[in-house]
């Protein structure tokens, strides 16, 4: 989810960055539309931090959880058509992750792979999968309305990741689980994810104080469910930010998960595979609160300069137990796993070039360090 979300956020920015014409807009009324120009490249760093407690199935104890996921992405407009549609190449340049749960720590940075420990199967698996992600390119076809209409390359992307584990002694059950989870993502699901994230940009002219809303729904195959979301946005003002003329947009998004469909397990019958059975039978209940954020949008160049958003999530995962040979449920009443997490998403444009030279390749590492608020 994080990966998809991160990819999506970069796409939003890059779409706008890819050739937005400079407009002589009035300070209080600005055009927030996607315009593309062939050859234009945008790079962004996306950081997602998640922290909270994870309660696993009883009787396992509650654990403290923290994860930081960083991605540097490049999006290049390969083709811009007169009708406003475009073809974009989205490439992952760098992936880094730090995860701590209980005393288990995992860390990987594709920019410094040699420094990673490789004496454990789990850390080796992580390194292989992430290394395979780096350099992979997805093709995004954008329609005249500025919305992505097709994504290509997800299948190859997934195969590359799975193949990276070919010579690792991954237990068969875990390999099947990975394949099962991977199989839930395809071109269609990725496109839906991207479309839903376009809601931030209204694609029309707005004045300071204007508000707009979006509602959406999308399937989440990993959770075997569907999400209904609603977003409210407001153009707070126009101000200079990082030396650019930016629209300051307030974000407030919420979503909830629709009921997960029941998966019947015939009495005494096993699922087609243990891994498949496990994933299919999980029931997810996701509640979100918060969702406040702020975006700075360079309306002259059509680039997302910065986005900050915080969301609190409570996810309950439960699983009906196997029926015994006579069809009776066993161990009924086991409480669900409860995860209470808070996620902070950050997107920053990577650049060192002065405003006059925008359009040249961006330099990584120039995102601002956060200050204590």
């Amino acid at each position: 989810m994080t990966t998809i979300r991160a990819l999506v956020c970069v796409l939003i920015a890059a779409l706008a960055a890819a050739g937005q014409e400079t407009r002589a807009a009035a300070p209080d009324a600005i055009d927030l539309k996607f315009v593309y120009r062939a050859g234009r490249t945008t790079r962004q760093r996306m950081v997602s931090r998640t922290v909270g407690s994870m309660k696993l199935f009883d009787p396992l104890p509650e654990q403290n959880f923290a994860q930081t996921f960083e991605q540097d992405l490049t999006l290049t407009c390969r083709q811009a058509n007169p009708d406003g549609s475009a073809v974009l190449d989205m490439t992952m340049d760098r992936v880094a992750m730090k995860m701590s749960i209980g005393g288990l720590n995992m860390e990987f940075d594709s920019a410094a792979p040699a420094t990673q420990p490789n004496d454990r199967l789990d850390t080796r698996m992580l390194a292989r999968i992430f290394s395979a992600m780096v350099g992979s390119t997805l093709t995004v076809i954008v329609g005249p309305d500025g919305q992505p209409s097709r994504i290509e390359g997800v299948k190859q992307f997934k195969e590359k990741m799975l193949n990276s584990l070919a010579d690792e002694p991954v237990p068969a059950s875990l390999r099947k689980l990975l394949e099962q989870v991977s199989g839930m993502f395809d071109d269609e699901s990725m496109m839906k994810e991207m479309q839903s994230s376009y809601r931030l940009i209204p694609n029309e002219r707005k004045r300071v104080g204007d508000r707009w809303e979006r509602s959406w729904n999308m399937k989440i195959p990993l959770f075997n469910g569907k999400i209904d979301g609603q977003g409210r946005y407001e153009l707070l003002g126009v101000e200079e930010f990082r030396g650019r003329k930016c629209a300051k947009i307030a974000v407030k998004e919420s979503f909830q998960m629709a009921a997960t469909p029941e998966v019947e397990t015939p009495a005494g019958a096993a699922a087609s595979s243990p891994a498949k059975g496990l994933v299919e039978r999980l029931r997810f209940d996701l509640k979100a609160s918060g969702g406040e954020g702020t975006a700075y949008w360079d309306y002259e160049n059509g680039e997302l300069v910065q986005l900050r958003q915080v969301q609190r999530l409570t996810m309950e995962i439960s699983m009906p137990t196997d029926a015994d040979p006579k069809g009776r449920q066993t161990n009924t009443g086991k409480p669900a796993m409860v995860q209470k997490l808070t996620t902070a998403e950050s997107v920053d444009l990577l650049e060192d070039a002065p405003a006059s030279a925008r359009g040249a390749p961006a330099t990584p590492g120039s995102a601002p360090a956060p200050a204590s608020p």
Binding site: V51, P59, P61, S100, L104, R232, S372, P373
Partner: protein, 323 residues
Amino acid sequence: MDTRVIRSQVHRARPSSGYRPALIALLAALLGHGAARAQPVADADAVERSVYFVEKSTEATELLSRNKLQEALAAFQELAARYPDLDEDGYVAMAIGDCLAGLGRDAEARDAYRAAAAAHPALASSVNQRITDLELAGEVSDALIERLRMAAASADKGRYAAAWQLGRALQKRAKALLIEAAAAFRTASEADTPVSRPDPGLAHARALEALAADLGSLIDRLEDGWGSARRAMRLPDKREAAGAATENRTAEWVLRTKDGRRIEFRMKWAAEACDSRTEVTANGKPLKLSDNQQSALKRHEDEIRAILLQAAEETGEAGRRGK
């Protein structure tokens, strides 16, 4: 990029204290519903503050997970002092208790957990579990065992967690009883007897002590893996556990049964840590082992390896470096 511009903007967004939410609430109350509608959908200052809180909470959790408890405690305490309004789930409040518990400051940990439950009633069950964990870390009392027995036998949804803790309490008590029994047999063996013969009490005491040590290593393994919230979960690391990695693990036994049959057993343990199954053949034919049999072989293999390693170190036969 002119970083001075960025810094100045970030600093401008910094609230001086936690007064802002209170001020907004007061204004909303004074101006009524219309004023609430006029509020922007998100306050940029509040967003920056929340993002910072998540970032620092993440860093503090990493410190806790890496067992840098003193640093983690300071970080969580600062978060609790500066951002009490953002700790909506009581995560920071609980983590302070976890750090104190990890540092062995049990009384302070207990107070911190109770304070967390007082501020966040939804945490009552988690707090109860952690306070019981603190008791389990010390000498197991009869009162604790009785309380856990009752909780495990109840219809409450926390009965599975209580049963887990009851198991941990009882096995710890069992180990203490084994040691006490061994000591009793040793005392008995000191009595003057008119008959000069090998003392059966002493031999029995040694066997009980070995059992207690064996049970102790089982308990340690469980506690390391899934013991309590205060003790970090970690994956087993064979190299760390045994002080050495096993490159080749095979064993042979040739047995002669009472009726004269000869059986040649060959055992081969899996090379990878993720696969702990042991392959056994009898006269070349594979044997099917139950889960209990597999588990017993694994446990004894660990024991044998530790004995061999210790003996080799003691006799200076640890071998040379290299392949």
